[in-house]
């Protein structure tokens, strides 16, 4: 499916994986895809343009995603250690206080964890990607761009991204209208 993605849409997917990893998540979720549409700053995607125009600017999206991230018990290792009564986040912050940011991740065992840790998409994120394809097909577009990804995220109702967008007053119709207003691609 990824071969029809525009370079920008691929970049968003790759950034979402990195975002999930940096948040110590076990899976890539829809909110990771949503927030990475706005990256990198200064070179935002077409999808971010659609979102901003429809009423969800970067700052608002980032705050909403951050609010969810805080209430999350993070990645699979953290959960396993938690069963043993060990708070990985506490250990990590101690290590970083003494040895600098990312100290644990820089060690050999840490790098092995990161490499082995190909982070899969969760159910809602997979659904969003499938619906991205559907939206592009419905519009008769041959490319899969970040604007379609926005629509896919909105339609994946089980995902947090859809909730964040809905809470900001966005609807599928308003987003489709914003996509239609985009300048036609060369």
């Amino acid at each position: 499916m990824f071969e029809k993605f525009t370079a920008e849409a691929r970049r968003t997917v790759v950034l979402a994986q990195e975002d999930a990893r940096s948040r110590h998540q076990g899976q890539v979720r829809t909110e990771n895809l949503l927030i990475c549409l706005y990256d990198p700053p200064g070179a935002e995607s077409v999808g971010a343009e659609v979102l901003t125009r429809a009423g969800l600017p970067r700052s608002q999206a980032a705050a909403a995603v951050q609010a969810i991230a805080r209430s999350d018990t993070s990645g699979p290792d953290a959960q396993k250690l938690w069963q043993l009564g060990i708070d990985l986040d506490a250990v990590r912050s101690q290590a970083e206080e003494a040895f600098g940011p990312g100290a644990l991740e820089r060690t050999r065992a840490g790098r092995r964890r990161a490499k082995e840790g190909h982070i899969p998409f969760d159910v809602a994120a997979r659904q969003a990607l499938e619906l991205t394809l559907r939206e592009a097909l419905d519009l008769g577009h041959r490319h899969l761009g970040t604007e379609h990804l926005v629509l896919g995220l909105m339609r994946a109702e089980a995902g947090a991204a859809a909730h964040i967008m809905a809470a900001a007053g966005l609807t599928l119709d308003s987003l489709r209208a914003a996509v239609a207003e985009l300048a036609p691609r060369p």
Partner: protein
């Protein structure tokens, strides 16, 4: 939240798959912490002998494991 997690953990603690996976995660964490401490000790001028003594392993074991890190 923490209470609910604790209860869930207690209820499933006899599941071998979960128990073993937790131990594996702990070992990986232990590896990371050991490396941080060994590297730090070397940077503070500790000998392999001194490090091994405190870690309670043989000097050969610790040297063999960490010499390739360049310390």
């Amino acid at each position: 939240m923490a209470d609910a997690t604790g209860v869930a953990a207690a209820a499933s603690s006899k599941d071998p798959a979960e128990g073993l996976a937790a131990v594996a995660a702990l070992r990986a964490l232990q590896e990371s912490l050991e490396e941080l401490q060994v590297v730090n000790a070397r940077q503070h001028g500790w000998s392999w002998q001194q490090i091994a003594a405190v870690l309670q392993v043989s000097k050969q074991a610790v040297h063999q494991k960490y010499r390739r890190l360049g310390y």
